[in-house]
Symmetry: C2
Subunit: 211 residues, 2 copies
Amino acid sequence: MPTAPTRVPQQERSRATQARLLEATVDCLVEHGWSGTTTTVVAARAGVSRGAQLHHYPTKAALVTAAVAHLAERRAMELRTEADALPAGPRRLDRVVDLLAAAFTGPLFVAALELWVAARTDAELRDALVPLEATVGREMHRLTVELLGVDESRPGVREAVQATLDLLRGLGVANLLNDDSTRRTALLHTWKRQLATLLTPAADTDARGPH
Amino acid sequence: MPTAPTRVPQQERSRATQARLLEATVDCLVEHGWSGTTTTVVAARAGVSRGAQLHHYPTKAALVTAAVAHLAERRAMELRTEADALPAGPRRLDRVVDLLAAAFTGPLFVAALELWVAARTDAELRDALVPLEATVGREMHRLTVELLGVDESRPGVREAVQATLDLLRGLGVANLLNDDSTRRTALLHTWKRQLATLLTPAADTDARGPH
């Protein structure tokens, strides 16, 4: 069976080509924005032929949504790995919020924001992006619950996690044109204490006093 | 002195022309996004000659930043007027948050977001926008403090107002591609109660019980 040994490397080559294209796409979005991200520029940056690129991703919309999905998965894995290294205990919440804040001010957030804004006025991109946005949003919520180690069936926990992610999204946008890290750090310092109160079961809160 | 009667109408005409151009610019940004907003399209939409447009706003960057500044001022005035009509008392905070949430999901927010994202990769726009963004941000903070009728010198008030605006910015982005109003309403319902606690002087809070 002489085909078996070559088929596996072919699949691996395809995956490697795809990964190079997707990473190059995100780099392009970060560096040049939506309008500066052309399929030609991405292929050149990835060192992939136009033919191979069109084989894997026939349109710009297909390429950019695949890129954001791929990077969101990779970033989620990285966040899990980073969170695994965190100590348990009361400081854990602070560090998890810091990890999430870094994600919301990092290149993947910037690339995703380029797509969200472009999709508002680009029907093809919008159709490709809306289902992905819902999935990524749900995954981010689930990941946050997991990293915080909280029980979402308890009243208020779901809302507190949502508010944290919406706040971080807002802080991500505030960081677009300026380094907003000083203000963000101070604001998150306060938010972490509020979040700890919101996430702590009422019995524990009572044991510590009303505030 | 025959020039005096004509000079005033000329100034009025100029102001009216400017206002038409600025409103058309925001409409264009909302409808077509940054890349679809060309000075030619704006002039046509405003019913203003290219010559007159170039006289008032010689570049696209000058036009779009003036448009966002103008609309931010107008929106602030509208918010003040709407807030003046609100009753005092505990429900006021809820209604002020609703007014702000409407602003952060309205056309001016969308137009401003188009500019912020475009400015990230457009040096000319960025230079024009960064000082404006700082001013608009400060004004929005001051307006929120004023509408809520709170005393910013009290500990925690400044941070609570900041967090509210950052949260609303995040909710504005979450609303870009989908009607997120159901989730937003539920989340803000919880946030309003938190904010009331954060903004209420400790003595009043104690009078009402620990929560």
